[in-house]
């Protein structure tokens, strides 16, 4: 194979692909990216067998074909090339790269040994506005578990499709993020579908496809155990998590009997200060609501006492409830609204946190479990 292309195009495609490569793989060819020259385009593919990423960019092809190159090495080389045109010639064992007076030969592995693309047999599909998708991923995946020991299901994020509505849910068992919007194109005949997607794959999809206009999402394979995210210049195929997602609707109370509405930035700042004192006590801050004031306190035998007072809008009875300040701050940091409303049922019941403001096309909420003293 032989082609020439812009250094910027190839550096960005190989750079993105190299992030998917597992640095600790014991299968040599999985350390490589696959470059395929066909139909005036170059396809750059990387996989860790769970996740496959492919970027496409235009090139001038003199001889179609494929080559595989060590991802980190090649990406490092390309990242150090100034703008210009690069020429690449590949054989099963070598990739020769020429840029002006710089000539490099990289050891290659035979392209026909590269894992084939997952099944292209398409099942259910829908489309989502890419910017919305990026927002949803950002709003939810942080709440998923990062503990492998607790299993892949909680490390995943649930995508639940019903007709033209999508709900994304992530939880680690202590906090839950839920985000809903309308799809650019829903499922055919208003059907429903559920996918548990590894959260990391959603992060990659948002990063690589988020700047497109729409993202086409389709179930792949005869058993629909893979999901493909595709935009004009890139695609990601991920193996879905096999398992039963917890019944999240059950943990979201249907109604609450008291609430506070509070300035988001002031609440975050107060919690962060109080958490400094609470660090060695499970980051516990107590929040007391009374007389339209929210009082945040924390205390520790080793560090001292914290007291913060905020003016709030209060509805319903007074309440004292304790939270892990870090969980609460992390949730608040993912809400882009000047004011939030926190709703409660009691000191040991889940609390809901939502942005205030006009109803938009996006519904967005968090549920957080309190601390028991």
């Amino acid at each position: 194979m032989k082609f020439s292309c812009s250094t910027k195009d190839i550096a960005s495609a190989v750079g993105a692909a190299s992030k998917v490569v597992n640095a600790h793989t014991t299968v040599p060819i999985l350390s490589n990216v696959l470059l395929t020259a066909i139909d005036d385009t170059i396809r750059v593919r990387a996989t860790d067998l769970e996740l496959t990423l492919e970027h496409v960019f235009p090139a001038q092809i003199t001889e179609p074909g494929s080559v595989t190159v060590p991802a980190k090495l090649f990406s490092g080389y390309l990242g150090n090339l100034p703008a210009g045109i690069v020429e690449l010639a590949g054989t099963p064992t070598r990739a020769s790269v020429k840029w002006e007076k710089s000539n490099y030969d990289f050891h290659a592995l035979p392209a026909d040994e590269y894992p084939p693309l997952p099944s292209s047999q398409k099942g259910t599909s829908f489309a989502i506005d890419a910017r919305r998708f990026r927002e949803g991923v950002n709003a939810t995946i942080f709440a998923a578990s990062s503990e492998e020991a607790r299993g892949a299901v909680l490390m995943g994020t649930l995508l639940e499709i019903a007709g033209d509505k999508i709900t994304m849910v992530a939880t680690d068992g202590y906090r839950l993020a839920k985000w809903e919007t309308t799809l650019a194109r829903g499922l055919e005949d208003g059907g429903t579908a559920k996918f548990i997607v590894p959260s990391r794959a959603l992060a990659e999809a948002a990063r690589n496809l988020g700047s497109a206009e729409t993202i086409e999402v389709s179930a792949l394979g005869p058993s629909g155990n893979q999901l493909a995210f595709a935009a004009h210049n890139a695609s990601i195929v991920v193996r879905l998590v096999d398992g039963q997602y917890p019944n999240y609707a059950q943990v979201i109370p249907a109604s609450f009997d008291r609430s506070v509405t509070v300035n988001t930035a002031a609440l975050i700042a107060g919690l962060k200060r109080a958490e400094l004192v609470a660090g060695d006590r499970a980051s516990m801050v107590k929040m007391s609501v009374s007389n339209a004031q929210l009082i945040i306190t924390a205390n520790s035998d080793t560090t001292g006492n914290a007291y913060e007072e905020l003016d709030v809008e209060q509805t319903g009875d007074d309440l004292t409830i304790a939270f892990n300040a870090r969980y609460l701050v992390e949730i608040l940091n993912h809400i882009d609204a000047a004011q939030i409303v926190m709703e409660f049922l009691g000191p040991l019941s889940p609390a809901a946190i939502r942005p205030t403001g006009e109803a938009t096309e996006v519904a967005h909420m968090y549920v957080l479990m309190p601390l028991r003293q």
């Binding site: 503990e147 939880t171 202590y174 889940p350 479990m369």
Partner: protein, 348 residues
């Protein structure tokens, strides 16, 4: 003066205490699944070769008449608390090693009074609770512990001050703290078999054999153990280990042992009101190579299922691939006493 107390075959004895029909019978305390391991064997079962950490099916094949009873940790905790209350009568400090084992610093420096205290404690444990304890009395921890091991079951051995070195001298080197099979092999190459021989070594030789801690080892061997009984000893980690009678390669058996050890660790944490967020396994292979894996959970726990699932995950990551395992341990670290708990959505 120091006493070391150890309740005899604690779990099994509790079962025999609570259910008279189990008395005098070879008994194993164990879960009831096909993959369970023996937690404790009664003295009646031991002549058959039944030992703790042995897979239950193996124990049953060695001892066809073996009676199996399930563990009852709440009951162990209750009886242990009552036993510790008996230690209090005359103790200056108590260092709990587990539910059934403790060092007591006795509130006297008189040897005879100390022996009388140990007799009284043993009698009270038998009379008030109905269990037997073995005791060792000495001027220091190491000797007291070795003496109580030697007195088992249901015995008392007391070593008078001044006799420590002579008492230890004929003992095999393995009885000393921190001398495992690897060090024993190294010592055997130099024809050192007894504690008395270690006591005679020169500075250069102890350094060559044990490194920087060499002199401390020699002092121990000479009967000079200066470690205090630490009442409020801060717990940095809680662990439970099993050394196997025979090497284990079967993953399912290893997983069953991890589950049992996780329950034990959970009970120990619970007994002291502790929780931890770092969970790991320790694995010693038949070639004495020690390996381990650990993982961190977001919320400190004492829950047996959480500990077991994290420990099983670590076991899987250790990638043993059928290697012969000699010892398996489960450990919980990053310990907190903080009573505050994060509530989970999935709590019952």
């Amino acid at each position: 003066m120091v006493a070391h107390f150890d309740l005899d075959a604690f779990y099994a004895s509790v079962a025999q205490l609570d259910d008279p029909s189990l008395r005098g019978k070879p008994l194993a305390i164990s879960g009831d699944s096909r993959r369970s391991v023996v937690l404790t064997a009664s003295y009646e079962a031991r002549p058959f070769g039944v030992r703790s950490a042995m897979p239950l099916f193996k124990a049953k094949s060695l001892c066809p008449g073996l009676v199996v009873a399930p563990p009852n940790f709440a009951r162990y905790k209750e009886l242990s608390t009552r036993v510790f209350a008996i230690y209090e009568r005359g103790a200056r400090a108590i260092e709990a090693l587990s539910l059934d084992e403790a060092y007591v610093e006795i509130g006297t420096d008189d040897f005879d009074e100390a022996v009388a205290y140990a007799h009284a404690v043993r009698a009270a444990i038998r009379g008030e609770i109905g269990l037997t304890a073995s005791a060792g009395v000495a001027s220091q921890k190491l000797v007291a512990k070795i003496a109580s091991d030697a007195a088992k079951p249901d015995g008392l051995q007391a070593i008078a001050p001044g006799d420590e070195r002579a008492y230890l001298a004929p003992m095999p080197v393995g009885r000393l703290w921190g001398i495992g099979p690897k060090t024993q092999t190294r010592l055997a190459q130099r024809n050192i078999a007894t504690i008395g021989e270690i006591a005679e070594l020169s500075d250069d030789v102890v350094f060559a054999l044990f490194g920087r801690g060499g002199r401390a080892v020699r002092e121990m061997a000479r009967g000079n153990d200066t470690r205090a009984v630490e009442a409020g000893r801060e717990t940095r980690s809680v662990s439970s280990e099993s050394t196997f009678e025979f090497d284990v390669r079967d993953t399912e058996i290893l997983r069953a042992i991890v589950r049992e050890l996780s329950v034990e660790v959970s009970q120990r944490l619970g007994a002291h009101g502790l929780r931890g967020s770092t969970i790991g396994v320790k694995i010693k292979l038949s070639n004495f190579k020690i390996t381990g894996r650990q993982t961190t959970v977001a919320v400190a726990t004492d829950d047996p299922a959480t500990i077991a699932s994290a420990a099983l995950h670590c076991l899987e990551r250790a990638d043993l691939d059928g290697a012969a395992v000699r010892l398996l341990g489960v450990r919980v670290a990053s310990i907190t006493e903080e009573p505050v708990r994060q509530i989970s959505f999935f709590e019952p």
